[in-house]
Amino acid sequence: MKDIVKILQQNARISNTALGEMLGISAEAAAAEIEKLEKSGVIKGYSVIVDDDLYDKSTVYATIELKVTPQRDCGFDDIAKTIMMYDEVESVSLMSSGAYDLAVEVKGDNLKDVAFFVSERLATIDGILSTSTHFILKKYKEKGIFIDSEEPDERGLG
């Protein structure tokens, strides 16, 4: 199971035949393994990693650090669930840092949209004490995939 997930994390569009070869099993068995992982919820979905410089230059990403008052009985879950319902929100994570509690990644069409979303939508949610917004200037690597060009391979002697 570890190997199959590792391979799919590098390339989720790999054919069942190739995947089977890599694992030393048949294509059918590889397909069945994937289905099992999907059904059991290990695999939540498949996404695509895009170089926004080439695809849509105006897209803006920001990481927002939120300080939050944990609530009785459900701690941070309730607020996190409220936040993750917004389409603008790409990811929500609970952090161990003492400085803030939730890290939220937001995507917007332009700078203003993101700024507006933070001040009008996020900051106003009950229990959020403060927000600190960091705009992302450039992504070099995402989910293990290089966004910026890869290092040239200088090997060649052996």
Binding site: D3, K6, N11, I14, A18, E21, M22, L23, G156
Partner: protein, 393 residues
């Protein structure tokens, strides 16, 4: 004007440059080439090893160090071999830390050979043996292995080539370029034969950590073989440390005493920083190595499956990081195949013939590359094969 032909020795001028290089040199001048050619890991050296080197740079005086290598490293090498193979070498008298496995091979050859001595070179094999034998004054005698035996060495392959001048058998397993390995059962008849002779073995086990499905077995484990074996290994392949230039040779004391003089005068000592880092490699990096092996194994299975699917029969290599598919079905020589593949589909590979005549009809494919890279290469090769097929009809 000085006449360099008169200045340079006949011997060195008669040595051919490496056949691996040729295609790299052409590939280097082309745009958009993807290579399947290299013989070094695509992984970076594990962080613990790099950190150890940084600490040496920060805290120590970078000195020559002892000729035979730093004592803690020789101790660690001795312990590692004993743990893996149950064979003990004295850290003080039977081990030299060398500049890569290549220097270790050179030391052994120069230490053993007198003019005209014959060396059995098991082929296909890495390109350095025959030229180094010649430089040491010896005569390389090629011993081809065969696909019928999965490129393992059998006694029948070399028994008839033994003469009174035969001094050494070079045993390069796990093998570059074929990926073949030798098991205990494969080695026993060879050891049985050698026990009654004065022939030494140079066992180049640089790929010993990169085996798939079974643990590497060394000929030194067999009865009577420790005393007639020069064992070569190193850090380049297992620990992804090619650029650190570190290997080692272990052998019985009389051999080490003599060959250490060549090392002493020619090299002095191996790099101090690398040696300190290598202690860390042997003491704490087993898990890192096995992670790399798992990754190589995925790629290996993929390539064997794909080449067989494409009709280039590929036997199942159990070691190193190469597959060695047969291209005879295309009707091309391995040199022509590689040249056309490079010019027409921009994939750089190495013709099997670069590793000895018995490699003709095969190509060496390295899987020291990411899966993404390998998948792109395979799709180009598939396109190339379809084109060849269309030409035929």
């Amino acid at each position: 004007m000085i006449d360099y032909d008169k200045v340079l020795s006949d011997k060195i001028r008669s040595i051919k440059p490496s056949g691996i290089r040729k295609f790299f040199d052409i590939a280097g001048t082309m745009e958009g080439v993807i290579s399947l050619g290299v013989g070094e890991p695509d992984f970076n050296t594990p962080w613990a090893i790099r950190k150890a080197a940084i600490q040496v740079l920060e805290r120590k005086h970078i000195i020559y160090g002892p000729n035979k290598g730093l004592a803690p490293l020789r101790n660690a090498i001795s312990q590692t071999i004993e743990k893996k193979h149950g064979v003990k070498y004295s850290p003080d008298k039977e081990i030299i830390v060398t500049v890569g496995g290549s220097e270790a091979i050179d030391l052994a050859l120069r230490g053993l050979l007198d003019p005209g001595d014959e060396v059995l070179v098991v082929e296909p094999c890495f390109v350095c043996y025959a030229p180094l034998v010649e430089l040491a004054g010896g005569v390389p005698v090629s011993v081809p292995t065969r696909i019928e035996n999965n490129f393992k060495l059998t006694l029948e392959d070399f028994r008839d080539k033994v003469t009174e001048r035969t001094k050494l058998l070079i045993l390069p397993f796990p093998n570059n370029p074929t990926g073949a390995v030798m098991t205990k059962e494969d080695l026993e008849p060879i050891a049985d034969f050698l026990r009654d002779t004065n022939i030494m073995v140079l066992s180049d086990e640089i790929y010993s950590e990169l085996t798939y499905g079974r643990k590497h077995f060394s000929i030194i484990e067999l009865e009577g073989m420790r005393e007639r074996t020069i064992y070569v290994n190193g850090f380049s392949k297992a620990y992804a440390m090619t650029g650190w230039r570190l290997g080692y040779v272990t052998a019985p004391e009389p051999v080490i005493t003599q060959i250490s003089k060549i090392h002493q005068y020619g090299i002095m000592c191996s790099p101090f920083i690398s040696q300190n880092a290598a202690v860390e490699a042997l003491s704490s990096c087993d898990a890192e190595v096995s992670k790399m092996v798992d990754e190589y194994n995925i790629r290996r299975r993929y390539l064997v499956g794909e080449f067989n699917r494409l009709g280039l029969t590929c036997f199942n290599p159990e070691g190193a990081f190469y597959v060695f598919p047969c291209i005879k079905s295309t009707g091309l020589s391995s040199e022509d195949f590689c040249e056309r593949l490079l010019f027409e589909e921009k994939v750089a590979t190495v013709p099997g013939s670069a590793f000895g005549e018995s490699g003709e009809g095969y190509i060496r494919i390295s899987y020291a590359y990411s899966l993404k890279h390998l998948m792109e290469a395979i799709s180009r090769i598939e396109k190339f094969l379809k084109k060849l097929e269309a030409e035929k009809s």
